[in-house]
């Protein structure tokens, strides 16, 4: 590996890596706008200029590949002056509307101004005026005055999605980002443009004016909307305690992981993950036909009832008439506990009611819209091929697990069979149709409130922790299952 020197420090770097990333890995920040590790060096923003021994001009850290003996300095007067001057050029035409800008707090231009410039404005000339509210996508707005023309957005749509909806039109100081006239970005990965934009030029209508980035906490998580298992951040608001926890999730963003999702995530996951936590949740324990009023239930009583039903069938030698309807969105840990529980009561069978396959995007989104089918298979479950209707039809007691996405379809044979089954206990994150007729409805944690692991399509086991606390009666399913097992005399 080539050995180079940055600011007097000797650093070893893999061949082919550029100086910017080499420095960053060593904890030496080199400011940049147009460079992004997902794309080749563009060299247009001129922010990452550094001094290289033996070179008469400043060199671009993004385009300079490491070679043995290279000596780079990032803190010299010439480098500092160059940075200040590039920032001055950007700010000369920038509206500096940070107080009303969604990006404020996580804006590269703002951060660099604080870190490298902090100069008073010397500009006496009028700023260029441009369109500030241009709809470029279903959920995307473009503010051309804030734009620094780094063209990350253009390059993402040209190189990653290959949909090419954005380009630069006009020339010189009039150059601006635009779609074709009258057309919008149709890419199903367009949410990444908001993350890629180093400033507040591209914003999302989902997030616009909802909160300020500095209020948000960022939790590591795994997206559960397809079998890819993209690594994500859950950006949530820790305050406002009267608002239920999961409703404090403002957005999710991709968390870079070269082995899974690179730097991106799809719009299906981005919108779906937040929506699943914000709407239609089931947060109270309940029962149908039990005569008990809402709120009269607590976990102790509910699990006693459940354990009694399971125990009675097992004692009668009718364990085989206990069935389960599962889904591939359950974590490995939950599936393991379910498997133990079913074995403990000599249960008959289990079937999966998963959301139907969708279309694969060829980029990140996979056809399989469940996060843990590989994990379920590894635990010995047959996720495809066993008919939920058949399992329901031959069972006296059913344990049903549902979410917003994984539901026994309304009007299906499975639902008919389920309705006719003598007893059913539902573990659900959402208010589903089954909740309307299950004997016992147990509200369980949605992914952001849960911990566990998913095994993605490539067999990669990805653990995650709870980002937010559940509210009202909601408990993590693993806790519920452990409790239940204990009540029927099992040590899971």
């Amino acid at each position: 590996m080539p050995v180079i020197e940055i600011d007097g420090r000797t650093i070893e770097a893999p061949a082919g890596r550029n100086v910017l990333e080499t420095a960053e890995a060593a904890g030496i920040a080199i400011p940049h706008f147009c460079y992004h590790p997902a794309f080749a060096a563009e060299g247009s923003c001129r922010m990452c200029l550094v001094e290289v021994e033996g070179s008469p001009k400043l060199e671009l850290a993004c385009a300079l590949v490491v070679r043995d003996g290279l000596k780079v300095r990032t803190g010299t007067t010439a480098v500092r002056e160059a940075r200040r001057s590039v920032l001055e050029f950007f700010l000369a035409d920038h509206p500096i509307d940070c107080p009303i800008c969604d990006k404020a707090g996580e804006c590269t231009l703002q951060d660099y101004y604080a870190a490298y410039d902090m100069a008073e404005s010397r500009g006496r000339e009028p700023k260029e005026r441009r369109d500030k509210l241009v709809r470029i996508g279903e959920k995307l707005l473009l503010d051309r005055e804030r734009c620094v023309l780094c063209t990350r957005c253009v390059r993402f749509l040209a190189q990653t999605t290959k949909t090419r909806e954005l380009g630069v039109v006009e020339r010189g100081v009039h150059a601006e980002i635009a779609t074709f006239p009258g057309e919008l970005i149709r890419s199903a990965d367009s949410g990444n443009l908001v993350d890629l934009c180093p400033v507040g030029a591209i914003t999302s209508t989902d997030f616009r004016f909802k909160t300020r980035p500095w209020f948000l906490k960022h939790a590591d998580a795994i997206c559960n909307l397809c079998a890819r298992g993209c690594n994500i951040f859950i950006d949530h608001h820790p305050g406002f305690y009267r608002i239920p926890g999961s409703a404090r999730i403002y957005r999710v963003r991709p968390r870079p992981n070269d082995a899974v999702n690179g730097y991106f995530m799809c719009d299906h996951g981005r919108a779906g993950f937040v929506a699943d936590h914000r709407t239609g949740r089931r947060e109270r324990i309940g029962g149908n036909g039990t005569g008990a009023a809402e709120g009269a239930w607590d976990w102790d009583r509910a699990l006693s009832v459940a354990a009694e039903k399971l125990g009675a069938l097992r004692a009668a030698g009718k364990g085989g008439r206990i069935g389960a309807i599962l889904h591939s969105g359950l974590t490995n840990e939950e599936l393991g506990l379910i498997r133990s529980l079913l074995a403990a009561v000599d249960a008959g069978g289990a079937a999966f009611a998963d959301p139907p396959d969708g279309e694969a995007s060829g980029i990140l989104l996979l056809a399989d819209r469940t996060p843990n089918r590989s994990g379920a298979s590894a635990l010995g479950f047959e996720t495809r091929g066993t008919d939920p209707a058949a399992v329901a039809g031959r069972s006296d007691l059913l344990l049903v697990f549902e979410t917003n996405r994984a539901r026994v379809p309304s009007g299906s044979a499975a639902e008919e069979a389920l309705r006719r089954a003598p007893a059913k206990i539902l573990f659900t994150t959402h208010e589903t149709a089954t909740a309307g007729f299950a004997d016992l409805v147990l509200p369980v944690a949605a992914p952001a409130e849960n911990r566990g692991s998913y095994t993605n399509a490539d067999g990669r086991v990805q653990p995650f922790e709870a980002a937010v606390l559940p509210c009202l009666d909601v408990r993590p399913l693993a806790d519920v299952l452990t409790d239940l097992a204990r009540r029927i005399g099992e040590r899971p």
Partner: protein, 415 residues
Amino acid sequence: MNGAALLTRGFDRPDLFRIDAYLDTGGYAALRKALTGMTPAAILAEVKAASLRGRGGAGFPAGMKWGFVPQAAGAPRYLCVNADEGEPGTFKDRFILAHTPHLMIEGIILTCYAVGIETAYVYIRGEYEMIARRLEAAVDEARARGFLGKDILESGFNLEIVVHRGAGAYICGEETALLESLEGKRGLPRLKPPFPAVIGLFGRPTVINNVETLANVPLIVQNGAAWFLEQGRPKDGGTRLFGVSGPVVRPGVYELPVGASLRDLIFTHAGGLKPGKTLKAVIPGGLSSPLLKPDEIDVALSCDAVAAAGSMLGSAGVIVIDASTPIIDLLGLVTKFYSHESCGQCTPCRIGTAWIHKIVGRIAAGEGCPADLDEILRLAENIKGRTLCPLGDAAALPILAIVRKFRAELEQGMR
């Protein structure tokens, strides 16, 4: 034109642009000589030895440029002829293309033979409508006579020339923007390295030469490097076509040996300034070159000598400025041109040129102050050397020279 007649050989014949007239004046003899008796390596060596400096502006030695093409990379390789003559004050390539296109075509064929190229593109300025048609006709003539196409002069060497018209952007004269434009994209300069010699047109090794540079190649092949050097300077051989514009008695194109005196060019060949006009400044090599004051024009017109005088020979477009021209007008023209022609890709050039132009506009409107001039200098220095392509320097250098050399005049009337 006076002085040497090498590139302008045969110009007494008005039909020189026709192949028969060109053949009458000894045309395509160099090609015959090369294809029947010289190896490609021998031609390359001869051009290297001749110190043929690029005539497009940068003055880079052509032979060295050809030598950068990695022969191991295999075919195809391309030649792109830069005929996008957009530098203000420059009108010498059109002179060659209009009057002696076969000289350039012969130079293209020799160059391609030397470097192992089978397709050459001529990127010609869109405004050169008549000239482009004349060039296309000349290419057809050359093909009809067996100088282009398959198995040229039974040498086994094949070559096609494609004439491509630009659409009027100055930036497309920058060699990598030219390649992008030729590929059908926006004419934006590429980040270098990689250099075009390694990764150029359509990702293949590419030589990019100016029209006049290529027109010199037949002369070198025919007469040898030693002869060519004798015509010019030891490190800068041959003659150059100087385009003289401005209020001189005889504006036009002059072929003079490299190293001729700038003063002689203006006052002898071009007849000096028109009656009643006095010299204020000279831009020696197209608008991008820093201007020279009257006491600075005793300079030899070679790349190195003009550079030593603090300017550059560039495209040898000599613009004469007389005393009645307000310097603020010249400054305004320079800043308007470069801010208009900046491609907008990189930050200092995109914003800096427009910013300076706004300041200049304010000064021109009588609302300037001396501090504005310092501001212009500071901004121009922040553009210089920090842009993606040479356009940044091309804008900054003339601005710096004008403000520094004519500061007193610019400050007149300021409060």
